[in-house]
Symmetry: C2
Subunit: 525 residues, 2 copies
């Protein structure tokens, strides 16, 4: 398969005529071939209208066919072979091994959602029996979830596969029964085209209605705003910057009919080093911390951007060990020239904050858009007084906060904004302090982890990749894991609907064989 610079609108592969844009190789600092044509407003309208037209036929298909569609997408992505990894590597600067792992995760995610679709548990089928002899009589009431309608998906720069064209938002939307219009991320246009064509191929093979998937190429904020404003779009999935997510949320709220926006935006992911854990293995922790900090050149939503501990010789020893480990870490190529520039500006600014000391840098800058890791330190008072220290810097940078007392550590915690994750390093002797910390952290984050590092987000049933604002725009949801499907569903109740007109999920005898709630009791199939 060649990369042709085209987008996908329904069943058509075509070249946009509103100008051109190219992908960029951040390691070599050069534009990549070919040119990609930009979507016109009528391209965008057509993609949205086709998606809207696909809502009814797509959701009416048997769940088994929907599940096979997801599995076929996974297979067609694998079929792209080394070409996909190579192009994604050129466009992102990410190494092949990382991209192969990310491809595996993308494929597993599609397969997990296929299982979720087959299970049918996501329909939340609920039946309340009629009580004709009650005064007043109770009608027969049944409830299931239905898809919201077409979903706009915005891919993230830092996961060109797992959070992009066929990533978590697309997989969970399609699983929910929602057609998808993806806005390709300009940092990986060729990767997007390849994956988009794999999705189209799967859609054609599986007999999907035209419009179940489109892929638009555009530049700047205009196309994003136009997409979120289009009346056919009923929900938005976004992973990216706080400014970008907030802008889309505001556009969505100003629509004639407001729609939900699931924006995963920014997080600095505090890591707590409790005294016993530091005593038991501070040096080992320092090495693992630096590995997590610099993984993927720090370009993870879950990058550990904050380390919180009690001031003293053991925190100093951790700091010194981390500094030593960090200095050995080579500079790494960042995803885009813009991200690299923003990183350099933000770290320079941080170094200038009164009360903040530079602990160490990674090894000196390399060629291309290579970022040097950085570790800073300050005391709790400095952190509490400087809101800027809580802003996410996208890249391999972290800040150690040395608290004088446990109370100060808890005060810093209460002060934190919403986060995707919080990590606690604790041994048995730390459990009293950890127990005091836990309820505070629950109110602040989507995932609490012990004795590990937050990078690495498992795709499973219990995962929550979400959290209070500004980590996301909607803390009631997750963008990773099986329950991500719930974002694109809403309940409908059927009262005294004749048997022949009931949806399969709600018919007597449970023909789909799904778990249902019957008169308040969970009934297995």
């Amino acid at each position: 398969m060649n990369i042709s610079g085209e987008m996908i609108i329904g069943h058509q592969i075509l070249r946009g005529s509103a100008g051109v844009v190219r992908a960029y190789d951040p390691a070599r600092k050069q534009d990549l071939e070919p040119e990609f044509g930009l979507a016109t407003p009528s391209d965008l309208a057509r993609a949205c209208e086709l998606a809207d037209a696909a809502v009814e036929p797509y959701r009416a298909l048997p769940l088994e066919q929907r599940a096979r569609f997801l599995e076929t997408i996974a297979q067609r992505i694998l079929d792209l072979g080394p070409l996909l990894i190579e192009r994604a590597g050129q466009e992102s600067g990410l190494p092949a091994a990382r991209l192969e792992g990310e491809r595996g995760r993308t494929v597993n995610q599609l397969r997990l959602f296929a299982k979720v679709v087959r299970d049918g548990h996501f329909l939340e089928a609920t039946l309340d029996s009629a009580l004709p002899d009650r005064t007043p009589p109770r009608p027969d009431l049944r409830m299931r979830k239905i898809p919201l309608g077409a979903v706009a998906v915005f891919g993230a720069s830092n996961f060109p596969l797992a959070f992009s064209v066929a990533g978590g938002d697309t997989a969970s939307s399609l699983a929910a029964g929602c057609p998808v219009v993806v806005k390709a991320h300009n940092a990986h246009l060729g990767t997007s085209e390849l994956v988009g064509k794999a999705v189209l191929q799967a859609a054609l093979e599986c007999g999907m209605p035209e419009g179940v998937f489109s892929l638009l190429i555009g530049e700047g904020n205009q196309i994003g705003g136009d997409l979120v404003s289009h009346p056919a779009i009923r929900a938005v999935g976004f992973t990216g910057s706080r400014a970008g997510g907030l802008a889309l949320a505001q556009i969505a709220a100003r629509r004639k009919e407001p729609i939900p926006v699931y924006a995963e935006m920014s997080s600095i992911n505090p890591v707590y080093l409790l005294p016993g854990a530091l005593e038991a293995g501070g040096a080992r922790l320092a090495g693992a911390f630096v590995d997590s900090l610099t993984l993927g050149v720090g370009q993870f939503c879950t990058n550990p951007g904050l380390v919180i501990g009690l001031a003293g010789p053991q925190l100093d020893a951790f700091r010194d060990a981390a500094a030593a480990a960090l200095q050995l870490k080579p500079a790494g190529t960042m995803l885009t020239a813009g991200i690299h520039q923003a990183y350099d500006n933000a770290t320079a600014k941080r170094a200038g904050v009164s009360g903040v000391q530079l602990v160490a840098n990674g090894s000196q800058e390399g060629p291309g858009c290579a970022a040097r890791a950085a570790l800073y330190q300050c005391d709790a008072a400095t952190f509490l007084a400087n809101p800027a220290l809580e802003e996410e810097i996208f890249g391999p940078v972290s800040l150690i906060i040395a608290c004088r007392t446990e109370d100060e550590l808890l005060a810093v915690t209460r002060h934190l904004e919403g986060q995707l994750t919080a990590t606690v390093h604790a041994v048995e002797g730390d459990h009293a302090l950890a127990g005091a910390l836990l309820p505070l952290l629950e109110r602040k984050v989507g995932r609490i982890l012990f004795n590990g590092f937050p990078t690495g987000v498992e795709v499973s049933y219990a995962m929550v990749h979400g959290g209070p604002f500004p980590a996301t725009s909607d803390a009631r949801s997750t963008s990773v894991g099986a329950t991500a499907i719930e974002r694109f569903l809403r309940p409908v109740c059927y009262q005294d609907v004749p048997a022949g007109l009931l949806p399969e999920a709600l018919k007597d005898g449970n023909p789909l064989g799904i778990v249902r709630l019957v008169d308040g009791e969970v009934k297995l199939a």
Copy 2:
């Protein structure tokens, strides 16, 4: 118990000092004793701060204690006896039998949520086993839902008990583990005080932390905006006008940390009369329709404000029978002078729309704020051309749309805004048309009912009292029924959290004995 004109802030019963307001008897058109004192800004702040302080201790209580609190509230409301019904009748103009029924519903709702709390199913406990031998190893992952924090509740004028101080929003918030700050509706201040004191008494008896419930009295929009703006408030439950709901949603979206608003706003609840059903029993349907239309002087969110059928002799016969039935219906006292005035203005305006004919009025106006029911008719073209005809008029008014063809009937359906309900009257021979209508209605409404009328909303597991905008501000939820609790929860994931620090709901051995999802399989207790 006397009505003292006081509000409730935490454990204190006190008189607001920011001015006074009185309740009003709409039947006698006169103010009611006593004067109620209005909350100062510091009263509001104190209620919110106490609610925030109560979040941790309240959610930490055993579920059994939370359930008993809900049941005790129900009992203390019943203990108020005839005084409550009498005062609610004076303030609302609603007859005693209706208010006794509403009290029963309010009490049943609290008891249903007590059962929901005990079941623990709402926690959505989910466990994924560790896979230490996998590459990379999978950690131990567990998830449960936690409460969002303090909730602001705005009662509705039309249900002084079931959608007010201890109504569905309060019951579901408290069930979720969220403290509540209620803004009393000024249309039933005395009723609010009585119920508020019953809640406080239950809170004290059950050893609830101070701040789990407060009741504020205020006038105008200022107090509502201040309440929604307060940083301690983490979600809003509202039932009322479209303008009111949208204003609160905008305030919530502009907060530094935006919060969810569940506003149930406006709906005209289309009723479809399919040809076979009209033929089989048009006259009987007309009588039942008029009963539903005029129930509670039409002051229901689910009032049938639109009747859609195919033009012809049978629809004419229905219309004539409805006209005859309507003319016999006495005028009824509306809830407030303002609602009465708005109803008179809106019906007068509707009568003047070109293409709209008056079919019949109810019997002539009575004393007090008495509203005369009204039935209008137009053709589909008139309806499609006049957006004003789709606006809710709160009261006993409806509009018959005579469609020339089935296609026109479907076009009217596609044109409709979001609604709480849609009703289909159909016999076996109508099922082809009903089948074509159903998927369109699913996309438009929260509840579809057959061969009944939409007034009367059962409180059960499968109920959905919600629907797409503008029926509500958030179609993903319901304000009535067991799943209303989900509005006030969000998921938290626990990764490798030591056994001793895990929440009870997620511990090995399932000590709470709740339904859990374990490695993707539903496990009964």
